[in-house]
C-alpha cells in the first residue's frame, strides 16, 4: 500500500463574486475576476491532511487541471498541508471545454501512475455544479465510491463512509482503493498558517500534459448559449381556491 492520496483541487470564480454573463451569451466573464479554490475541494484537502496527521496515510498529492493560474490553487493546497502538487496543463480552447469526463480520465490515469490508494474530490464545483467527476473517476478505475461524504473513517483496508442522501444519512463500508467526494459537513477547512505558506514555496509542483497521460480531451458537449436566470416576477394574490387552480392550469404548471 503506497499510502498515497490524490486530492483534486479546482480553480473557480470566488464564491462571493457577482457573476456576469458575457454580452455575446457565450459564457461567463472570467477575465480580471477573483478566483479561488472550490470550497468543496478545500474540504477534500482538509480531510486528506487530517488523515496524514493521524498517520493513516503517508502522502497527500494535490492535482489541478487548467492553465498556468491553476498553480496558485495547488499552492493553497500545499499551504494547507499537501506534500506535493501535480499541475496538468490544459489551456485555451481545451480548457474552455474541459469537463468532468476529461478530468476523470486524467485523475484515473494519474491514480495508476502514482499508485494512489485513495482519491478525494469535492462533491461538485461551484461553477458548473456537475457533481460527476468523482463518480466517473471511480467508474473508469472500477473502484468503489463514497460520495457526499459527511464522515469518513479508515478501518484497516476498508473505509466507512457516512453519506448525506435525500432521505437522511447512509453508512457504507467500501474497499480500498476508492474514490471519495466531500460534502459540506465533512470538516471545517483550516486556515493556512504563515509558516506553512512559506514552507509551501519549497514544495514541488510537477508539470504534466494530458497527452503524456494518454488522455483525449475532446469534448462531447457544446455550449450553445448562456443566459442569466429570468428576473423574479411579482406574485399575485387570488381570492379563492378555484382561482388558484385556474391560474395554475393557465400557466401550464398543472
Amino acid at each position: 500500500m503506497s499510502g498515497r492520496v490524490l486530492v483534486g483541487v479546482k480553480r473557480v470564480i470566488d464564491y462571493a463574486v457577482k457573476i456576469r454573463v458575457k454580452p455575446d451569451n457565450s459564457g461567463i466573464v472570467t477575465d480580471g475576476v477573483k478566483h479561488s479554490m472550490n470550497p468543496f475541494c478545500e474540504i477534500a484537502v482538509e480531510e486528506a491532511v487530517k488523515m496524514k496527521e493521524k498517520k493513516l496515510i503517508k502522502e497527500v498529492v494535490a492535482v489541478s487541471c487548467g492553465p498556468q493560474q491553476s498553480q496558485e490553487t495547488i499552492r493553497t493546497a500545499l499551504a494547507m498541508g499537501a506534500d506535493r502538487g501535480i499541475h496538468v496543463e490544459v489551456s485555451g480552447k481545451d480548457y474552455e471545454t474541459l469537463g468532468p469526463l476529461q478530468v476523470s480520465k486524467i485523475m484515473a490515469a494519474l491514480a495508476k501512475k502514482e499508485d494512489a490508494q485513495l482519491i478525494i474530490l469535492g462533491k461538485q464545483a461551484i461553477d458548473d455544479d456537475c457533481n460527476q467527476t468523482g463518480q466517473m473517476t471511480a467508474a473508469l478505475l472500477d473502484w468503489p465510491q463514497g460520495t457526499f461524504a459527511s464522515e469518513v473513517s479508515l478501518e484497516g483496508d476498508k473505509i466507512k463512509v457516512v453519506r448525506e442522501i435525500d432521505g437522511g444519512l447512509e453508512t457504507i463500508k467500501i474497499n480500498t482503493p476508492a474514490v471519495l467526494t466531500a460534502d459540506l459537513r465533512l470538516n471545517t477547512p483550516r486556515y493556512a498558517t504563515l509558516p506553512n505558506i512559506m514552507k509551501a514555496k519549497k514544495k514541488k509542483i510537477a508539470n504534466v500534459k494530458p497527452a503524456d497521460l494518454g488522455v483525449d480531451l475532446t469534448s462531447r458537449l457544446e455550449v450553445l448559449r448562456v443566459d442569466e436566470p429570468p428576473q423574479r416576477q411579482a406574485g399575485m394574490k387570488v381570492e379563492t381556491v378555484e382561482d388558484l387552480v385556474g391560474k395554475l392550469k393557465e400557466s401550464g404548471k398543472v
Partner: protein, 419 residues
C-alpha cells in the same frame, strides 16, 4: 453544459457555507477586497497574496461577525486573538527561532490591512502586541528573548507598550517615571497613561528614567504582571477601540529585576522610537483596511439606495466622490507599502517616510471613512451599520503612536536639518 451563474445559487451555497464557516455572505463579500481598481492584491508577490488571503479570510470569518459586539460590550477577544496567533499573527516580524514568523515589514502591512477589515480595534491591539514582541526580540539578550518571545508569539501572554504619561505625551522624552537602581533591582515609581491592554496584559515594556533629563536618561524595562507595586487605573471609556481595555499603569515602589533591562541604560528612548517606526506603519495599515472596507460599503449602498427615481450610483457627484475616495485610498496604500519597504531595507529615508505615511494615511483614511458614512445618509449614523464603527475606531490613529503634529515635526526637522 450551460453555466448559469445565478445569484440565488451563490446565495444558496453562501448560506450553506454560512452554517459551516459562520459567514454572513452579504457583509463579507463587501470586505473580501473584490473590486477592481482598489484591489489590495495588486503589486504583491504570490506569497504575499497567500498571506493576504489568510488574513482576509480570518478577518471575514472570525472577526467581522463579532466586531459590533466586541465594540458595544467592550470585550477583549482573547480567544480570537490566540487563534490569530496560531496562524502566525502574534509575532509577524519576530525572528522564527523564538516563535515568530520572520516576515518583512511589507508582509506585515499587508496582513494588518486585511485583518483590519474585520475589526480595526482588535487588529490595532495585535499590532501593538507585535511591536512589543519585536522590541524584546531585537534589543533583548538571549535569556530575555527566550523567556518572553515564545509566549508573546503564541499569545499565551499579551503585551503593552508604556511610554506616554499624564505629563508627557508628544514631549515623550520628558517622561518622569523613575527607575532607581537598588542592588539587583530597579525600583519604579510613576505612572503611564492611556496604555492599550493595560490591566489585562501580562508583559509591560516600560520606558523609564534611570539617568538624567532628556532622552539619553531613559531606559527600557520589561515589567511582568503580578509584580508587587504594579497597579492599574480605571478602565477608560472611549469613543472607539473598545475591544481593547485602556488603563493607566501605576508603579509604586515596583521592584523589577535588573535582568529585565532591554539593551543598556540610556538606550530606552532609542528602543521606543525604533519600535514606533514600525508601529506607525502598522497603524497606518489598520487605517487602510478600514478605509478599504468603508469604500466597499459605500459602493454597495450607492448601488442599492434609490432617491429621485434612481439609484445613488447614477448621481455624478457621488460617483466623483467615490472616485476621489478610491484614488486617495490607493495613494495611501502605495505610501505605506513604500515606507514598509524602506524600513525593511534600513534606507536613509525610512524614519521620515514612516512619519509621512502615518501622517498622510491616517488623515486620508479617516476622511474616506467619514465620507463613506456621509454617503449612507441617516443610516450611516446607526450602530446597525458598520461604517460608523470604522470611523470611530480609526479616529484615534491620527493621535496615538505620535500625533500627526509630531509627524510634521519629524518631517520638517529632516527637511530643515543642516547637512
Amino acid at each position: 453544459m450551460a453555466v448559469v451563474g445565478s445569484l440565488s445559487r451563490i446565495a444558496r451555497l453562501g448560506s450553506d457555507i454560512c452554517r459551516n464557516h459562520r459567514l454572513m455572505l452579504g457583509r463579507i463579500s463587501q470586505r473580501r477586497g473584490i473590486a477592481s481598481c482598489i484591489d489590495p492584491a495588486y503589486g504583491l508577490t504570490d506569497e504575499q497574496k497567500e498571506f493576504q488571503k489568510v488574513a482576509f479570510d480570518f478577518a471575514a470569518n472570525e472577526m467581522a461577525p463579532h466586531m459590533a459586539e466586541w465594540d458595544q460590550k467592550e470585550i477583549f477577544p482573547v480567544e480570537t486573538m490566540r487563534k490569530a496567533a496560531q496562524l502566525g499573527f502574534g509575532g509577524i516580524y519576530v525572528q522564527p527561532d523564538v516563535g515568530g514568523s520572520g516576515l518583512s515589514r511589507l508582509d506585515t502591512s499587508v496582513i494588518f490591512e486585511a485583518l483590519s477589515t474585520g475589526c480595526v480595534s482588535t487588529t490595532a491591539y495585535i499590532s501593538i502586541h507585535n511591536m512589543c514582541a519585536w522590541m524584546i526580540d531585537t534589543f533583548g539578550n538571549n535569556e530575555q528573548r527566550e523567556k518572553f518571545c515564545p509566549d508573546l508569539c503564541s499569545m499565551e501572554k499579551f503585551a503593552s507598550y508604556c511610554l506616554t504619561e499624564p505629563g508627557s505625551g508628544s514631549d515623550a522624552a520628558s517622561l518622569l517615571t523613575s527607575a532607581r537602581r537598588e542592588g539587583d533591582h530597579y525600583i519604579l515609581n510613576g505612572s503611564k497613561a492611556f496604555i492599550s491592554g493595560g490591566g489585562d496584559t501580562d508583559v509591560y515594556v516600560v520606558m523609564c528614567r534611570t539617568g538624567s533629563k532628556g532622552p539619553k536618561g531613559i531606559s527600557c524595562l520589561v515589567v511582568e504582571k503580578g509584580t508587587p507595586g504594579l497597579n492599574f487605573g480605571k478602565k477608560e471609556k472611549k469613543v472607539g477601540w473598545n475591544s481593547q481595555p485602556t488603563r493607566a499603569v501605576i508603579f509604586e515602589d515596583c521592584a523589577v529585576p535588573v535582568t529585565n533591562l532591554l539593551g543598556v541604560e540610556g538606550q530606552g528612548f532609542n528602543i521606543a522610537m525604533k519600535g514606533l517606526n514600525g508601529g506607525r506603519i502598522n497603524i497606518a495599515s489598520c487605517s487602510l483596511g478600514a478605509a478599504h472596507a468603508s469604500v466597499l460599503l459605500a459602493k454597495d449602498h450607492l448601488l442599492v439606495r434609490k432617491q429621485f427615481g434612481e439609484t445613488l450610483a447614477n448621481n455624478q457627484f457621488l460617483q466623483f466622490k467615490l472616485a476621489e475616495m478610491a484614488t486617495k485610498l490607493v495613494a495611501s496604500r502605495l505610501l505605506v507599502r513604500e515606507a514598509a519597504t524602506a524600513l525593511q531595507e534600513k534606507r536613509a529615508d525610512a524614519v521620515s517616510l514612516c512619519s509621512m505615511a502615518k501622517l498622510f494615511v491616517t488623515d486620508e483614511c479617516f476622511n474616506i471613512c467619514n465620507q463613506a458614512l456621509q454617503m449612507h445618509g441617516g443610516y450611516g449614523y446607526l450602530k446597525d451599520y458598520a461604517v460608523q464603527q470604522y470611523v470611530r475606531d480609526i479616529r484615534v490613529h491620527q493621535i496615538l503612536e505620535g500625533t500627526n503634529e509630531v509627524m510634521r515635526m519629524i518631517i520638517s526637522r529632516n527637511l530643515l536639518a543642516e547637512s
